[in-house]
């Protein structure tokens, strides 16, 4: 019993990281119908910015370091959109997708050449003591950092929900997602809204990168693996849907953690991708995605 609960916490932690990445995929796709394959590498970049800040500005407390890293990563995300994607907004879609692949490879190699190819761990800045209350009531061994990562991620998602549903920027984002051609006629600055989407997505991914570095470890190529997984999670949930991205992330993490715990770690990827294909055959546009209409 206790191990099941522990596994659930593991799944929640992994799912929270997936969700923070998947949200960026889903938001960008929702707004400009672009699969940003460099997003996984933005997540990696966020983790490494967190690493550099903790090692070089060691006096900075975690709760200041994280917003700073998120801000810097957001700037990087906006800069990438400005330099590489904006000019291709009206081009055929494949050129943009290939450009995102190129940006991803560029970021991986940049970090590898400047920081080094080694696998590193972010210096632990969150308490690692077990949560006594959970141990006493449920008999589960769960450390504080795990619980904090899950709670902070959920808090970020709640903030995102508020931004999207309650603020003017969020309203504009939803409007752009609905109809990109009409919204600029209403006096909305399209470039600003798209930049804001990239900024928010990148900041969330950076938070994910820092959490991942605290919980596991980071290396320059982690963005490929984690990025694809988060992308799958976004697709399972229905790409373009915020709630779907979160739901898909926790679902995928649950399946993965349970596969590793009770079957075999070798089967992890096969089962994750098999699930993806099965789900897409049943729900071709994801669990919460809008079905695509074909116009004749």
């Amino acid at each position: 019993m206790d191990t099941v609960i522990q596994q659930l916490f593991n799944a929640a932690q992994l799912g929270a990281v997936y969700a923070l990445i998947a949200l960026g995929y889903s938001m960008v796709y929702g707004i400009i119908r672009l699969i940003n394959f460099a997003h996984g590498d933005i997540f990696m970049l966020g983790g490494f910015i967190g690493l550099l800040l903790t090692t070089h500005l060691g006096w900075l407390p975690f709760y200041l370091m994280m917003p700073l890293a998120m801000l810097l990563t957001a700037l990087a995300g906006v800069a990438i959109e400005r330099v590489a994607y904006r000019r291709l907004r009206h081009a055929q879609r494949m050129s943009v997708v290939i450009t995102t692949l190129g940006v991803g490879i560029f970021l991986e190699n940049l970090v590898r050449l400047t920081v080094g190819p080694e696998t590193r761990q972010l210096p632990a800045r969150l308490p690692t003591a077990p949560v006594l209350w959970l141990q006493n009531t449920l008999g589960a061994f769960v450390t504080w950092d795990k619980l904090l990562i899950i709670l902070l991620s959920l808090a970020l998602m709640a903030i995102l929900w508020l931004v999207i549903n309650k603020t003017l920027v969020g309203t504009a984002m939803r409007a752009v997602a609905d109809n990109k051609d009409v919204v600029p006629l209403m006096g909305v600055n399209l470039n600003l809204i798209i930049a804001a989407t990239f900024a928010i997505g990148s900041a969330l991914a950076a938070a994910g990168g820092i959490f991942y570095g605290q919980a596991y470890s980071i290396d320059p190529y982690m963005g490929i693996d984690l990025g694809w997984k988060a992308f799958i999670a976004a697709v399972i949930g229905g790409i373009g849907s915020i709630e779907g991205a979160v739901l898909g992330s926790f679902l995928l993490a649950g399946v993965e953690v349970l596969t590793v715990a009770y079957l075999s770690s070798n089967l992890k990827n096969g089962i994750a991708f098999g699930l993806l294909i099965l789900l897409l055959l049943v729900w071709p546009s994801g669990i919460m995605g809008k079905p695509m209409l074909k116009k004749v």
Partner: protein, 340 residues
């Protein structure tokens, strides 16, 4: 469909180019093997040309799906893996006794059988992937093909008879430079004839407007499945050649990083253009080698920085030439007769 009006010169020129490549390849192989003129004909150049040949097969076959059919398939390395493992199994476990045959005949026979097996196995998998992707288009097709790539790699990792995650060792070296060039020329010739036949025109019509094509009587599922099967078979051929050239393969070398590399060369060269596939592979491979040699000669401490330059080149090409170097255009010797 009636026969197209033909003008002989274009067809003649195409076969002349093919013949010329083969006529150059044979003495190149023989002279290098004999060790004559080591300064000009060294094995390193032969190795580069071999890699270029295998990559042309991969990129040109992916062009069927991503260029002519207009889909976005992301699983080409998976088909390559199937071909590589099928050929490796045949060469190392089923046909090891071929050494008893006379040398040239034995090599030709082993290569022929293993490559046929590789193409057949990959075609079968491509057919199945084609079946599953019927319901999906666009981004979702991309994801499903990528998923299949991952599942194939993961399945191989879990099969002990294929070496599992450690890789498949002890494959005899049957692939020679000459064999690769022959296969490359055959592939380009077959694909050229295919895309200029009614098959290829059906694929292009689906890309341009699937609904209109369906109204004209095109069976979309069947045409898509044919494209997947054929493209997978050629990816399997490249895999079979690769396995018997490297003599050692691991599942990890066929994951999405390999797929991305194939995509980069494809889009660099240009969509729906066999000339583009050839040019893209040659340009990318030579550029990478040139950068490596230049950097290690003049600035060895920056030798690794070429890894940064290649994605930058890709980005710049996409920003300045959206359709790649040769998108939708062909060299005159590859053009369909009607248009030349």
């Amino acid at each position: 469909m009636g026969p197209l009006p033909t003008s002989r010169p274009s067809r003649l020129r195409f076969w002349m180019v093919c013949g010329l490549v083969l006529a150059l390849a044979i003495p190149l192989q023989l002279l290098t093997d004999a060790g004559l003129f080591p300064a000009i004909l060294n094995p390193y150049y032969l190795h580069l040309l071999t890699i270029i040949g295998m990559n042309i097969i991969l990129v040109a076959s992916l062009n069927l799906l991503n260029g002519y059919l207009g889909e976005f398939a992301l699983g080409h390395a998976g088909f390559m893996a199937v071909g590589a493992y099928a050929a490796a199994t045949l060469a190392a476990k089923v046909l090891p006794a071929s050494g008893a045959l006379p040398p040239i005949l034995g090599t030709v026979l082993t290569l022929g059988l293993t490559l046929a097996g590789a193409m057949l196995a990959a075609a079968l998998v491509g057919y199945l992937v084609g079946l599953v992707t019927f319901k999906t288009v666009g981004d979702y097709l991309a994801i499903i093909t990528l998923g299949f790539n991952m599942i194939i790699v993961n399945a191989i990792q879990n099969i002990d008879a294929l070496g599992g995650p450690r890789g498949f060792t002890g494959i005899p070296r049957n692939t020679t430079f000459l064999a690769v060039i022959v296969c490359t020329v055959l592939t380009v010739a077959i694909l050229r004839n295919l895309v200029q036949s009614s098959f290829g025109r059906v694929w292009v019509s689906i890309r341009e407007n699937a609904i209109a094509a369906e109204l004209m009587g095109v069976d979309l599922n069947r045409a898509k499945n044919q494209a997947f099967t054929i493209a997978a078979a050629f990816a399997g051929l490249a895999g079979g050649l690769w396995a018997q050239y490297q003599q050692f393969i691991t599942p990890r070398s066929f994951d999405y990083i390999k797929t991305t590399e194939i995509l980069v060369m494809l889009y660099l060269g240009g969509m729906a253009s066999l000339s583009g596939s050839i040019l893209g592979v040659v340009a990318y491979t030579l550029l990478m080698e040139l950068l490596r040699n230049l950097l290690s000669a003049f600035a060895p401490q920056f030798a690794e920085w070429r890894m940064l330059i290649s994605p930058l080149i890709l980005i710049v090409i996409m920003l300045t030439r959206q359709f790649g170097l040769m998108g939708n255009r062909e060299w005159s010797w590859l053009r369909p007769e009607r248009e030349s």
